[in-house]
């Protein structure tokens, strides 16, 4: 098992190098001069030129890239924000807990709502409930986040006045963003649970259990559910990773100071070190989440574990 974890952690290295290179080169070719963005459009050209030199922006691409990787690997230093002059790590670390909280809430909502709905849908296939859930899931998947967010604000903040429309410092302010962000995941998890459950309850061993006269409740909860949830766990993990990196729109709509908003602002201001660091960070978070998912997976499904334990 440790060997497996070790291997997975080792695999992070090429992923990070790849991500770094791609992001670095994309930022390099993006039009817009970071020095100009720092100083503002009214700054004289001499100052901009001087700052470019100071920032090392005049060096060839590979020199800049090499310097970045060297500093990151040897000193663990991924630079300072051009704008605030704070270390990038600090900038991201300040925004990350917010995004994590938001994504986690969205994920919890998605799982609490999605898994039971999916199970019931599967058991009562083609019933009214199943049809209603299917329709809602379709809506959930196809509704754009910003639209849903604005609708929720209109209903719950403007009309009903139940929750504030922005901010992120109390549970009441977090509900709408979490719902908005979680809507798609609810839909995906519901669909996934439903189809996985359907597949499992048609298996031979379920028929055997039933044939032995086991009560339906035991058949579903004890024999079917565990196996049906395995792919759901995988998809939930991937979803969580996506939420962590993709909370951008939700954060913008609800004015939440998370990583997504930090990235958008930084891209606008050509604050390259923060963008670069943010992408790396999201990549790492994604990989870590996936690793955890795989571990849970192995724990749930002895067949998978067997592949690594031998």
């Amino acid at each position: 098992m440790f060997k497996y974890i070790f291997k997975r952690v080792l695999m992070l290295v090429p992923v990070l190098i790849g991500v770094t290179f791609i992001v670095f080169s994309m930022l390099y070719i993006t039009p817009g001069d970071p020095a100009r963005m720092v100083l503002g459009e009214q700054a004289p050209q001499e100052s901009v030129d001087e700052l470019r030199q100071e920032m090392g922006l005049n060096d060839p691409f590979f020199v800049q890239f090499g310097r970045y990787v060297y500093k990151a690997v040897v000193h663990g230093d991924i630079g300072r924000s051009y704008i605030t002059k704070r270390p990038v790590v600090q900038e991201i670390w300040a925004a990350f807990p917010v995004t994590l909280k938001l994504s986690a809430m969205a994920m919890i909502i998605a799982m609490i709502v999605g898994i039971p709905c999916g199970i019931v849908s599967a058991i009562k296939q083609y019933s009214l409930f199943d049809n209603v859930v299917t329709v809602f899931a379709m809506i959930g998947i196809s509704m754009p986040v910003f639209w849903l967010g604005i609708l929720l604000i209109l209903l719950f903040s403007v009309r009903l006045g139940w929750v504030p429309p922005s901010g992120f410092d109390s549970v009441s302010t977090m509900i709408l963003p979490a719902l908005t962000l979680g809507a798609q995941s609810v839909a995906i998890i519901t669909r996934m649970t439903r189809s996985s459950m359907l597949e499992v309850i048609r298996q031979d061993y379920i028929r055997t259990v039933r044939a032995k006269g086991q009560r339906e409740r035991v058949v579903i909860w004890k024999h079917a559910l565990g196996n049906a949830l395995i792919p759901v766990i995988t998809i939930s993990g991937i979803q969580f990773g996506i939420l962590l990196g993709g909370a951008v729109l939700t954060e913008l709509i609800f004015s939440i100071p998370g990583v997504g908003r930090l990235m958008v602002e930084s891209i606008k201001m050509r604050d390259f070190p923060v963008v670069q660091g943010g992408v790396l960070f999201i990549a790492v978070a994604f990989c870590v989440v996936n690793l955890l998912v795989d571990l849970v997976y192995a724990w749930l499904d002895p067949r998978i574990k067997a592949q690594y334990v031998s």
Binding site: G32, Q42, A43, V48, L51, E54, A94, I256
Partner: protein, 515 residues
């Protein structure tokens, strides 16, 4: 049983939803929950609180409460002392500032002449490029402390706009030498000034919390805590204001103006600001190097109608390059009349009887795109085929600097009360590619601009700026589009708040009515 439960649940949800949508705005009892706190909704968060590191409106708005300058503007827009008790102009070039005694910085240090010298020198350093265009007239070698409370400064040339430019929030700010040196790169997050508030917490992208500085030398604010929140969504700012969560909301969007106006618990304040949005030509590129072509395009655009349609009652059509609240703006300047036939004739005269193809650049600001779209239609009438390109701000600026554009729509804000700032940078030939994105420059305008800087205030200086405005209107490097407007919503109980045409506002004088 189960089906019944589901049905019940569905019915309940439907009822709740429709009740919610049909119900009007609930009457929220409006009382100031906490009379010791002022909460303001701004659009953006500050970039940094190092005054020389940025020149954006949000940062200036925050710094205004943390720092003081040597001089400031009073209610009548006259320059008066702030940290300087007395200002003496020794000769054409030399100014002497006598500092107030006993002024404390937030870290407990007393303000000394050495801090002023340090601040002025730092504002001229290369890394302070963001404000260099404001303070650039100071001779860096001339800044000396005569004693602990007297500072002498010389300008490089006799500069009439020197004192007004020192009122600039960023460029004129006085910092504590020790605090800056100690904080190093972290200074932008840990500002130390002499202002009425000190920073206690800054949650980037979310809110900034400031506390009243009890040792402030001036009139202390009536409340204890100032919170400035960043809420980029316009509708959200209005909703927060309506629900009483914020006391003041900046930049109410056009859609929400009537909602705020209709609400008896709220007030709406409006003021035309110092920005001028214009359609500029690349005057070094054919066919725009021909003044007749520029005039033809100006004449072919019914600008006031376009502005009315696009801005729906917000802002005002601009008549000249100097915004109306800036000194020596000529309110009687006659815009070029809308005349398609004359425009066609001018184009033919310039050698383009069938018109030509060109592009208009704009950034993603909606009003600008709308204006470009209408202009595109209008210009068809004189045979000019326009292609609109919407660029992201960074790319836009870079393209402008590199002279890749034909026509472009952008704004220019006069950040000091002096007209020099409004016209020198965008029109003097020495500023080409820097702030002069039209690459316009002729000797006559250059001479006038230079004269305007050195002429002391008075009727003569006014005439110079009137001549400049006439000349620019005639030679048409810009089609003047509009002056933007500050639209601010406040709770009814907010008193003592005045809107500034610079776009950032002094909150230290605010009081709460009856609370």
């Amino acid at each position: 049983m189960k089906a019944k439960g589901i049905k019940l649940c569905a019915a309940f949800c439907a009822a709740a939803l429709s009740a919610g949508l049909l119900a009007g705005n609930p009457a929220i009892a409006r009382e100031k929950k906490d009379p010791d706190t002022l909460t303001v909704a701004n659009v953006y968060d500050a970039k940094t609180l190092d005054p020389f590191g940025t020149n954006d409106v949000a940062s200036s708005g925050a710094m205004l409460h943390i720092y003081n300058r040597l001089v400031k503007l009073n209610d009548k827009d006259e320059v008066v002392g702030d940290l300087a008790e007395k200002i003496e102009q020794v000769d054409d070039l030399t100014y002497r500032f006598y500092l107030r005694k006993g002024v404390k910085f937030h870290n407990g240090e007393e303000l000394k002449a050495s801090d002023v010298v340090f601040s002025l020198k730092r504002s001229l350093a290369p890394s302070s490029g963001a404000v260099k265009h404001i303070v650039g007239a100071i001779d860096p070698d001339s800044i000396v402390a005569l004693d602990d409370y007297t500072v002498e400064v010389k300008t490089l040339f006799p500069f009439a706009a020197f004192l007004p430019s020192m009122t600039h929030m960023g460029g004129g700010a006085i910092l504590n030498e020790k605090a800056v040196t100690e904080a190093g790169d972290n200074y932008g997050m840990n500002p130390v000034g002499t202002g009425p508030f000190k920073l206690v917490e800054w949650n980037r992208g979310d809110k900034m919390v400031m506390e009243r500085f009890e040792d402030y030398f001036g009139e202390k604010p009536a409340y204890k805590t100032l919170i400035i929140r960043a809420i980029p969504e316009g509708t959200n700012r209005t909703i927060e204001l309506e629900s009483g969560n914020v006391d003041i909301a900046y930049q109410i969007t056009t859609n929400d103006v009537s909602r705020v106006e209709a609400n008896k618990e709220l007030k709406l304040l409006r003021l035309i600001d110092n920005s001028t949005t214009y359609l500029g030509f690349n005057c070094e590129k054919a066919p725009f190097d021909d003044v007749r072509v520029r005039q033809a395009i100006t004449m072919a655009l019914p600008t006031p109608q376009i502005i009315k349609a696009v801005l729906r009652g917000v802002g005002a059509p601009a008549v000249g390059p100097i915004a109306p609240n800036v000194k020596y703006a000529n309110p009687d300047l006659k815009p070029m009349a809308y005349d398609v036939d004359k425009a066609k004739a001018l184009l033919a005269e310039a050698g383009y009887p069938d018109g030509f193809k060109a592009s208009i650049w704009t950034n993603d600001k909606k009003a600008r795109i709308d204006i470009a779209t209408i202009a595109q239609n209008q210009l068809k009438k004189i045979g000019v085929e326009v292609d609109i390109q919407v660029l992201e701000w960074g790319a836009y600026l870079e393209g402008l600097t590199q002279k890749k554009h034909d026509m472009f729509i952008v704004g220019w804000t006069c950040q000091t009360p002096d007209p020099d700032m409004a016209v020198f940078a965008p029109f003097h030939s020495s500023m080409k590619g820097n702030n002069n994105f039209t690459f316009y420059g002729d000797d006559e305008v250059d001479a006038l601009l230079e004269k305007g800087r050195v002429t002391p205030d008075g009727p003569e200086r006014q005439q110079v700026y009137y001549d400049i405005q006439d000349a620019l209107r005639e030679r048409g490097p810009w089609v003047f589009l509009y002056n933007d407007e500050q639209i601010i919503g406040t709770q009814d109980y907010v008193k003592g708040f005045t809107v500034s045409p610079f776009g950032f506002h002094d909150l230290s004088k605010v009081t709460f009515d009856g609370k």
